[in-house]
């Protein structure tokens, strides 16, 4: 579709990006910026052969970033005989790094799981990432099998700091934010090299290196006050895989070490729900899963426990593990008189303080504000 430059037909963003990707994959030795701006669809229409192309160059810089964000390996090649000469830089997309490796293929059952996994993220950037991953999966042409029962699992990442933190994680940027530690009256500024963002016990945590203490710390995203900003010029080399697992292991260890002893009202909401989380039950559940693995059971094909009965005992005493005393105290306060904390003392006091605060805030005239 040859066009003359002065007509400047409207070329959509996706057409320009698509044409750029095709041109950079097709080239072996790479194209210089001048090659790209003067010949590639979407740039060439606006290219001035003897003028100032500064706007177009900035456009190309942004397009490059957008293409890389999609996981497309857009490379910069320095001229071997003249390194550092920006005019001779070449750009290309090596086909071997662009193509999905041949041994990465998925069965219909796997695809069913991946489709479900992609629906988990309902909000924010991860839902867009999941949608694009699913589009790429669909390109493989495998039809997924159908689950027996409908599922609609959802995870939320509602903390405002989630997206900036996970971006900083990708780009190896040190971030700064105000953090309000429980028990402290005012937030303190932290400079952190983020290593992983993990969900544990229903809460998002940042795992990272505190730049001032030069030590690893875990932060609750819900306690980050105000915006997360990147610290200009401060970067670090992102870790390989495994940091997320490490963060979860440390939180698991903390969870295992903290034990709360509660007295619950038999038959109450607290008794039914908290006793399901009682210490010891979780380990037992994991062992069961392990046994199924050992038997080599294919995903959900042979388990047909037609007569399984789940017995729930409602004991007076419930022992719970926890990671964060304030989060557990919030939850336990919600149960009002159905729960009495026996130990530890700090949890006992935290729950009592909350209940007294709520009682006082709701006693008397409506002018009283919250504690």
């Amino acid at each position: 579709m040859p066009t003359t430059a002065d007509q400047t037909p409207r070329i959509t963003v996706e057409e320009r990006l698509f044409s750029l990707v095709l041109a950079l994959i097709a080239t072996e030795i790479g194209l210089t910026k001048a090659d790209i701006l003067s010949t590639v669809q979407g740039y060439r229409q606006r290219y001035l052969s003897d003028g100032d192309n500064a706007n177009l160059e900035r456009q190309f810089e942004r397009d490059k970033d957008d293409i890389r964000e999609l996981g497309i390996p857009l490379e910069t090649v320095e001229p071997p005989d003249d390194p550092g000469n920006n005019h001779l830089l070449r750009y290309r997309i090596p086909k071997g790094l662009y193509n999905l490796p041949a041994d990465v293929s998925f069965s219909p059952d796997e695809l069913m799981l991946l489709k479900l996994a992609a629906t988990v993220w309902r909000e924010g950037s991860l839902s867009a990432e999941s949608r694009r991953a699913l589009t790429k999966l669909n390109s493989l042409g495998v039809d997924s099998s159908d689950p027996v029962l409908g599922y609609a699992p959802h995870l939320r990442a509602r903390d405002a700091s989630f997206t900036p933190l996970s971006r900083a994680l990708d780009h190896g940027q040190v971030v700064a934010f105000l953090y309000l530690k429980p028990g402290e009256s005012s937030p303190r500024r932290r400079r952190v090299a983020p290593r992983a963002v993990v969900l544990h016990g229903g809460r998002w945590h940042l795992y990272g290196t505190d730049q001032d203490a030069q030590a690893t710390r875990t932060y609750l995203l819900s306690r980050i006050v105000g915006p997360v900003v990147t610290v200009p010029g401060e970067t670090f080399v992102p870790d390989g895989e495994g940091k997320g697992r490490q963060a979860l292991d440390e939180l698991d260890a903390l969870w295992g070490a903290n034990v709360a002893e509660l007295e619950v009202e038999p038959g109450s909401d607290a008794a039914v729900r908290l006793s399901k989380r009682e210490a010891g039950k979780r380990e037992a559940g994991k062992q069961d899963a392990g046994k199924r693995d050992a038997a080599g059971t294919a995903a959900g094909t042979t388990m047909t426990p037609n007569t399984v009965t789940l017995r729930t005992v409602t004991p007076h005493t419930v022992t719970l593990h926890y990671t964060d005393i304030d989060i557990l105290a919030d939850e336990l306060a919600g149960y009002g008189p159905e729960v009495l904390v026996r130990s530890p003392l700090a949890l006992r006091q935290a729950v009592r303080t909350r209940l007294v605060g709520v009682r006082d805030a709701h006693t008397g005239s409506t002018q009283g504000s919250a504690a």
């Binding site: 057409e15 996981g71 992609a118 990432e129 409908g150 599922y151 699992p153 290593r195 037609n306």
Partner: protein, 330 residues
């Protein structure tokens, strides 16, 4: 005018173009409807993409985008029969890799789902995650999700679903009442750490939502599920407002509104001094409200009606009183 940051839409469209080509390569003469069905997109979006692909390509030796440098399709088939046949390919012939973040989103999603009965085979899930890592162009972002406890209740419900029989359980509702329920399971839903069964409740003769952690004595039965569920459409939201609901005015910091998103507070808020705002919640009864407010101690205060304030005050006072007895060391 195009010199503005590309909308999210452009990234999605580019991904679709790059994904559609390898699919079309593998599927000779496929209908637009089939493609739309496979990718889960509207047919018109497929047609738009095909039209763009058919005129796209590389500048080529001449820098003129000549015919041999462009993709081509069987135009008559496309225009007359809505069928797509790629007749010439340029530059790409394979599926693109995942970005580091895309792989991370799926891996974290799988970790979250690892308590489902479908995921009982942990080795299979681990190998699936490894494949996603290998298929990504960078090390997946370190996002991790602790697998929730594998819940035996889900296996029971799934097994009932497979055999099309009802499940039975004792249910403690939010009002604190115990009832025995027979339910046709329709869907398992979750929000973060909380799992819910949605199904047809034979006691209420209506679709209902049940929290898994409020069920006791769950078992599959030999009673077949009813036939009514074929045309039954479940509402999108877990909780439905009812005309009988009570309105409650609450006061809270604006930043805490997000914590109440599930309760669909009225969009309208009025300033209440400082960073605090007032808004209206609709609740079925005060039993749920008092638990909600006591669990958000220091954040949320009920303003009116007086009965609601009283219910919350009584609940908290009864809780606090348990710490006042002589044996209490607090």
């Amino acid at each position: 005018m195009t010199a503005r940051p590309p909308a999210l839409g452009a990234s999605d469209k580019l991904t679709f173009l790059l994904s559609l080509i390898p699919y079309l390569m593998d599927h000779d003469s496929v209908t637009v409807a089939e493609v739309a069905g496979h990718f889960g997109v509207p047919a018109e979006r497929v047609r738009e993409a095909v039209r763009l692909i058919a005129v796209s390509g590389i500048p080529g030796e001449t820098h003129q985008y000549l015919d041999g440098d462009l993709f081509d399709i069987h135009w008559d088939e496309f225009e007359e029969h809505d069928r797509i046949t790629l007749t010439h390919l340029v530059a790409i012939d394979d599926s693109p890799r995942f970005s580091a973040r895309e792989a991370a989103a799926l891996i974290a999603g799988l970790q979250y789902l690892s308590s489902l009965p479908e995921n009982a085979d942990r080795d299979a899930v681990a190998s699936l995650m490894a494949k996603l890592s290998r298929g990504a162009s960078g090390t997946p972002t370190q996002l991790a999700v602790s697998s929730p406890d594998s819940d035996a209740a889900m296996s029971v419900i799934q097994s009932a679903g497979r055999s099309s029989v009802q499940v039975a359980f004792d249910y403690l509702n939010a009002r604190g009442e115990h009832e025995h329920r027979f339910v046709d399971p329709l869907r398992l839903e979750s929000v973060d750490n909380d799992w819910y069964l949605r199904g047809w409740c034979h006691l209420r003769q209506a679709p209902r939502t049940f929290r898994l952690d409020r069920m006791s004595e769950l078992r599959t039965t030999t009673e077949p599920v009813g036939s009514h569920d074929a045309g039954l459409v479940l509402p999108d939201t877990l909780f439905q407002a009812s005309d009988d609901d009570l309105s409650v005015v609450i006061e809270l910091p604006a930043s805490a509104l997000v914590l109440l998103a599930d309760y669909a507070p009225a969009r309208a808020t009025t300033p209440a001094g400082g960073d605090r705002v007032r808004t209206t919640l609709r609740v079925a009864h005060y039993h749920g409200l008092k638990r909600l407010v006591a669990g958000l101690a220091g954040l949320v205060t009920v303003v009116e009606p007086a009965e609601a304030r009283q219910a919350v005050a009584d609940w908290a006072a009864a809780g606090a009183a348990r710490y006042d007895d002589p044996s209490g060391e607090a």
